[in-house]
C-alpha cells in the first residue's frame, strides 16, 4: 500500500493529463477532472505525511524490483510536508485560474492549460518523492517542460520574450543536471540516491567536493540563488497571475528541496558551508534591493522571491538540525505566502488594469477585502510576528545565534532583508491601497467567489502554518534530524544491511 501512496501523486495527474488531453472538447469535464485529481492527491499527501510522521522515511520500489535495480520512491517528513503544502497551493491556484477564466481563454488552444497544469503538478510531486537522481531529473523535466508551455500559453510578444529567457535558462540548468548525473554515475555506478550516498564515500574527496558544488549550481539555477537568479525577475512577472503564483511558490522550492536533499544525503562531509553562506548573503541582499528598485508589482514580488530563497540557503549553510529546521519551515511558509501574494497582486492588477506602482498609486484602491488578503501575506513575507514568516525566520535566526564565526553577518543580512522587504511591502501598500487622483472607487468587485475564495484559501493556509507552528516545528525538526541522520533513509531504501 505504501507504494501506492507514493506513486499516486505522480500517476494520477499523469493519467488525468492523458484523459484531459483527449477530453479537450469539454471544458467543464477538464476542470472537474483537474480539481478532483488534485484533491485526491492532496488527500494522498496528507496520508503520506501521517505515515512519514509515524514511521520516518518510508520507501517503495516500483514493479517489485529492489533498489537500486528499480526506481525508488521515498517519503520522509521533509518530502511529505512539502508535497502536502505544494499540492494544496496547486489546487487553490487551479481553482483561482478556473475562476479567472485563464484556463479557458487561450484562444488558439483551449485544451492546453489543464493537461499541462496536471503534468506540472505531477512533476512537482514526483520531484519531492524521487529517490533516484535520474528520476529526479525526469520529474524536473516534467515540471519544467509543463512550465515552458504554461508560461508561453496564450502568448503575446512580451510573454514570448520572457518565455525565451525562462526556457533557455532552465534548459541550461537541465542540461547541466544531466551532465552532473552522468558524472555521478561515472564515479559511482549508480543513480539511486541511497546507493549513491553509500558509494560516494569511496570516491576521492576532491571529486566529491566538486560534484557537490556542481549540484549546488544546478539546483541553484532552479532555486534562483544569486548569481544564478537573473532569469527569474525577467520571466515570471509576465505570466498570468495564477501561473506566476504557482511558479513562484513551487518551482523554486523544488530546487531548494533538491538542493537540501542531495547536499544532506550525498555530501555530508563536504565543506560547502562558506559557499552557501556567501550565496545566501548575496541572494538575500541583491534580491531585496532589486525589489526596492522595482516599479512593477509583479517584478517587485519576483525579486522578493529571489531574496527569500536566501533564507532557505541560510539554514542549509548552517547544516545542523536547527538550521535545517528553519529551512524546512521557511520553505513551507514561503510556498503559501508567495503564492498568496502573487494571486492578490493578480487581483489588484486586474482591477486597476496596470502593474506599475506609479500608475497604481494614481488609481483608486481596491476593496478592503483585497487589502486584507494582501496584508497578511505581505506581513508574513516581511517576517512580522505572529505570522508564519516570523516563525520561520525566527527559527533560522535562532539557529544562527548558536554559531559564532561569520554567522552574525548572515544574521545581519537576514535582518536587513527583513527590513527592506517590509519597506518594499510598504511601498506596495502605499501605491495600491492609497486613493489616487483617479477617484472613482470600484462600485463592485468584478471577480467572483472562486478567485477570492482561492486567494483566501492560500492566505489562510499561511495563517494555518503560523497557528500550527508547534506541530509543524516538531515535524520540521524531526525532518531535519532525518536529513542529517542518513541511516534512516538508506535503511528504508536498501534494507537493514545499509548504513
Amino acid at each position: 500500500m505504501t507504494a501506492w501512496l507514493l506513486v499516486a501523486p505522480m500517476l494520477l495527474p499523469v493519467l488525468a493529463a492523458g484523459v484531459s488531453f483527449t477530453l479537450s472538447g469539454s471544458r467543464a469535464a477538464q476542470q472537474l477532472l483537474g480539481v478532483v485529481v488534485l484533491t485526491l492527491v492532496l488527500a494522498d499527501s496528507v496520508a503520506l505525511l501521517m505515515m512519514a510522521e509515524r514511521d520516518g522515511p518510508t520507501a517503495a520500489t516500483l514493479g517489485g524490483w529492489p533498489a537500486p535495480l528499480g526506481i525508488t520512491l521515498l517519503a520522509d517528513r521533509l518530502s511529505a510536508l512539502l508535497l502536502m503544502v505544494s499540492v494544496a497551493v496547486a489546487l487553490a491556484v487551479l481553482v483561482f485560474s478556473i475562476g479567472q477564466g485563464f484556463a479557458d481563454s487561450g484562444r488558439s488552444s483551449p485544451f492546453a492549460f489543464h493537461p499541462a497544469y496536471l503534468l506540472l503538478t505531477g512533476g512537482i510531486c514526483q520531484a519531492y518523492l524521487a529517490g533516484d537522481l535520474f528520476n529526479l531529473f525526469v520529474a524536473f523535466e516534467m515540471m519544467l517542460t509543463s512550465s515552458y508551455v504554461l508560461i508561453t500559453l496564450g502568448a503575446g510578444s512580451g510573454r514570448i520574450r520572457a518565455g525565451m529567457t525562462y526556457t533557455i535558462t532552465s534548459l541550461a540548468s537541465s542540461l547541466l543536471f544531466l551532465t552532473t548525473i552522468a558524472l555521478c554515475y561515472a564515479a559511482t555506478g549508480t543513480v539511486n540516491l541511497a546507493d549513491l550516498s553509500q558509494k560516494m564515500e569511496n570516491v576521492p574527496g576532491g571529486l566529491v567536493s566538486a560534484l557537490s558544488v556542481l549540484l549546488l549550481v544546478v539546483f541553484g539555477i532552479k532555486a534562483a540563488a544569486v548569481p544564478l537568479h537573473f532569469w527569474l525577475p525577467d520571466s515570471y512577472p509576465t505570466a498570468p497571475a495564477p501561473i506566476t503564483a504557482v511558479f513562484a511558490a513551487l518551482l523554486t522550492k523544488v530546487g531548494v528541496y533538491a538542493m537540501v536533499r542531495t547536499q544532506t544525503l550525498l555530501f555530508p562531509r563536504e565543506e560547502t558551508w562558506t559557499l552557501l553562506a556567501v550565496a545566501a548573503i548575496l541572494t538575500l541582499l541583491l534580491g531585496v534591493l532589486g525589489a526596492v528598485a522595482q516599479d512593477d508589482i509583479n517584478r517587485l514580488l519576483s525579486f522578493v522571491l529571489v531574496s527569500h530563497i536566501g533564507f532557505m540557503l541560510f539554514g542549509l549553510a548552517l547544516f545542523d538540525v536547527p538550521g535545517l529546521t528553519g529551512t524546512v519551515l521557511y520553505t513551507v511558509h514561503h510556498i503559501a505566502v508567495q503564492a498568496g501574494l502573487f494571486l492578490v497582486a493578480g487581483i489588484v492588477v486586474r482591477l486597476a488594469g496596470t502593474a506599475s506602482l506609479k500608475r497604481l498609486a494614481r488609481a483608486a484602491p481596491p476593496p478592503p477585502v483585497v487589502a486584507g488578503l494582501f496584508l497578511i501575506p505581505a506581513l508574513s513575507l516581511a517576517g512580522i510576528p505572529p505570522t508564519s514568516g516570523f516563525v520561520a525566520k525566527f527559527v533560522l535566526l535562532q539557529a544562527g545565534g548558536e554559531h559564532g564565526g561569520a554567522v552574525p553577518a548572515l544574521i545581519a543580512a537576514a535582518l536587513v532583508t527583513s527590513l527592506l522587504t517590509l519597506y518594499a511591502m510598504a511601498r506596495l501598500w502605499r501605491a495600491v491601497f492609497s486613493a489616487g487622483p483617479e477617484r472613482p472607487p470600484p462600485s463592485r468587485y468584478p471577480g467572483n467567489a472562486l478567485i477570492l475564495g482561492a486567494a483566501a484559501g492560500i492566505v489562510l493556509t499561511g495563517v494555518g502554518i503560523a497557528v500550527g507552528a508547534g506541530e509543524l516545528g516538531r515535524i520540521s525538526e524531526r525532518a531535519a534530524h532525518d536529513l542529517l541522520e542518513r541511516d534512516g533513509y538508506r535503511e528504508a531504501v536498501l534494507g537493514e544491511e545499509a548504513g
Partner: protein, 143 residues
C-alpha cells in the same frame, strides 16, 4: 575501470564548447541549436560513463555479463534524447511564434529592466510611463 579515452573526451568537450557557444547567442534559433548540441553532449557523456565500447546489451544465453555495454546509461540517455527532442520542437514552435509576432527571433533584452531608471522617477514624481504590457491573459496578439 578505464577512464574516458582522449578522443571521446575531446568530442565531449568539443560538443559542450560548441553548445555553450551557441547558447550564448542572441538568435533564438542558434540557441536552440546550442541546446540540441548540448543534448548530444550530455547524452554521449552519459553513455560513455558506462565504460568502453561493448556488445549491445541484448542478452543471449551463454554470454558473460561483462561483455555487454552498460545498459543503464543507455536507457537514461534514451530518455534524455526523447526529452530533448520534445523540447526542441517546443522551442522551434517558440521561434516560429516569435517571428510571427515580432518579425525576428532574437532574444531581446528585457525592456522592464531598462525601465529601472533613477530614484527620481519613482512613483512619487514624474509623469506616468505608458505601459506596453498586456495583463489580460491570452491577449495581446493579433488584435
Amino acid at each position: 575501470m578505464t577512464t574516458l579515452d582522449l578522443v571521446m573526451a575531446l568530442v565531449v568537450g568539443g560538443l559542450f564548447a560548441a553548445g555553450f557557444y551557441l547558447l550564448l547567442d542572441r538568435s533564438l534559433m542558434r540557441v536552440l541549436l546550442g541546446v540540441i548540441v548540448l543534448g548530444h553532449a550530455a547524452n554521449l557523456l552519459l553513455l560513455l560513463t558506462g565504460g568502453p565500447p561493448g556488445m549491445p546489451p541484448v542478452v543471449s544465453d551463454g554470454d558473460e555479463a561483462e561483455r555487454y555495454a552498460d545498459p543503464l546509461p543507455q536507457a537514461m540517455a534514451l530518455t534524455a534524447i526523447v526529452i530533448t527532442f520534445g523540447i526542441t520542437t517546443l522551442l522551434l514552435a517558440l521561434v516560429h511564434r516569435a517571428w510571427q509576432l515580432d518579425g525576428h527571433d532574437e532574444v531581446r533584452d528585457d525592456v522592464e529592466d531598462r525601465r529601472i531608471g533613477t530614484v527620481e522617477d519613482r512613483e512619487e514624481s514624474g509623469p506616468p510611463l505608458p505601459t506596453d504590457r498586456d495583463h489580460e491573459p491570452g491577449g495581446g496578439s493579433g488584435r
